[in-house]
Symmetry: C2
Subunit: 307 residues, 2 copies
């Protein structure tokens, strides 16, 4: 890899997207320990939780306390998902410096996921971006179902671009395109991303789901057109509960091994990530979709490197 | 897709690679019915079985009889795997017009899989190619572990190219690069394939395994550098039994949907392939790795097409 290329930055989604729908509850202390373990695996950006109603999402209760237990490190960014003003105030109140805000481009998905229309969600998100800016909080603004919707099918790229334009205009610091339904293909990725790039110079992150097993191919296509930031979740835990069959996030360890095998640095300690996934599988009592933990990673990753 | 591009040709490996290690035995009649069903799904090339010792591989006994039960069609190519002179004579004797011959580039894998050294296997393969040519049989000659070996790690591309040169020199009609251990990555694919192309103009097929979930990304990389022929197996059934953890073939239905979703024709009827996989799962009593059968394919494939 050239010196000019900083490699891939993976934003670990396990503590939020991964845990939010699990039956097994993780205590505040366990969540903090998990995040510390992720830092130990070399992850430099971690979505530590969300500031949502604990009555609706008990798994995400007490995200302030989780944050309070974390060791602050100069090179590690902790972020959290925020849905509304109350959440934003909680986030800012506990001192977290980065938040993510997502709006679905699909009317049906917006109503099922957020309980309101796209216009209403968009209006709320723009207010939140303004609020965050006022509080000195860095905001990532994302479009859900940017590559197609389980309920509505194809999504017009123009609608995605329009939303991004409004996010950027309001002062968002980073854009995220989420393939919430897992419907993206490389041709779409290579078409939409340059279109986004021609609109804004904001950093662009991709949140890919692996519904059809195209996630890695999409990540590679995005990398070809310059994307260096990817969301992923150890073991592939997580995914949108409002979209049936939308199997989970890209497994962090597989995505990292994919890039590392081509000599592209991710900073992830693969052995450490595999141990974490195996521990997580023991706790959850089931096998997760990630491959690396089940393929004798030591001889593969140790023996072959970037050859 | 342009008129000049015939789209993708998938060689269905289910009746051979898929069934050869299954505990559930398929009768000759069932194997023939399965192949007819695959033809009904639009598959134009099918590896119907192997001509090997039935005492060693009972699942592949009576491949002559399977072939005899098949309806011959001008647009469908039936092929079979051949390991030795006896197999070649059986193949030619029953009138099958296409055979595949594989040699592993890895010494350790060759000894475990074929029971002899690479040199010995290579010498045998060259003899078989000559034999096939004399009998008017079309030969695909392939290199196993062309992208790395589970046992030996990295494989020098020069060794692969040298084998291909010898295959071509002996009169092979088609080359196959097999990622037997599932260790390929797109960077390797995009480097090795042009090197092969610069050596020979023979058609080139790729046999990818999905050990780390990189199979689709590798197929896409190969497509970028001009490969249009891919081996796959419905449901993802199969894989090399001598390589632990080398999970199966690329699922035909997922690979077809991947290309079709980008408007690249494969000729595969996705709905038909999904029904076949579901039937196969019932018969085998387990879920197969292929995704499309488990993701509500109708709304996805029906509603979104190549959008």
């Amino acid at each position: 890899m050239s010196v000019a290329d900083p490699g891939i930055i993976i934003e670990e989604n396990l503590p939020r997207d991964g845990l939010q729908n699990e039956q097994v509850l993780f205590s505040v202390r366990e969540r903090a320990a998990l995040i510390e373990a992720l830092v130990g695996c070399g992850l430099r950006r971690i979505q530590i939780g969300s500031f949502v109603n604990p009555a609706r999402v008990p798994q995400m209760a007490g995200t302030e306390e989780v944050f309070g237990l974390l060791k602050q490190r100069e090179h590690v960014i902790y972020s959290a998902l925020v849905l509304n003003r109350k959440g934003m105030e909680r986030a800012a109140g506990c001192g977290i410096g980065h938040v993510s805000i997502f709006v679905s481009v699909s009317e049906t998905h917006s109503r099922r996921n957020a309980g309101c229309s796209v216009d209403e969600a968009m209006s709320g998100a723009l207010t939140l971006i303004g609020l965050a800016k006022g509080m000195g909080v860095t905001v990532q603004a994302g479009v859900m179902n940017a590559f197609g919707c389980h309920f509505e099918g194809a999504v017009a790229p123009g609608r995605v671009l329009e939303m991004i334009g409004r996010f950027a205009g309001e002062g968002a610091d980073e854009i995220n395109l989420a393939d919430t339904s897992g419907l993206a293909n490389p041709a779409q990725v290579e078409s939409l991303i340059p279109a986004v790039r021609s609109m804004t110079e904001l950093p662009l992150a991709l949140h890919l789901h692996d519904t059809f097993g195209f996630g890695i191919a999409n990540a590679h296509a995005a990398w070809r057109v310059g994307v260096r930031r990817f969301d992923a979740s150890c073991g592939g835990l997580g995914g949108c509960p409002f979209i049936p069959g939308a199997s989970g996030n890209l497994p962090t360890e597989d995505l990292a091994w994919f890039f590392e095998s081509m000599g592209i640095s991710t900073g992830v300690d693969l052995g450490c990530a595999v141990e974490l996934v195996m521990e997580l599988e023991r706790k959850l009592g089931r096998r997760l979709p990630g491959r690396l933990a089940h393929t004798g990673y030591r001889q593969f990753c140790g023996g072959l490197g970037s050859e």
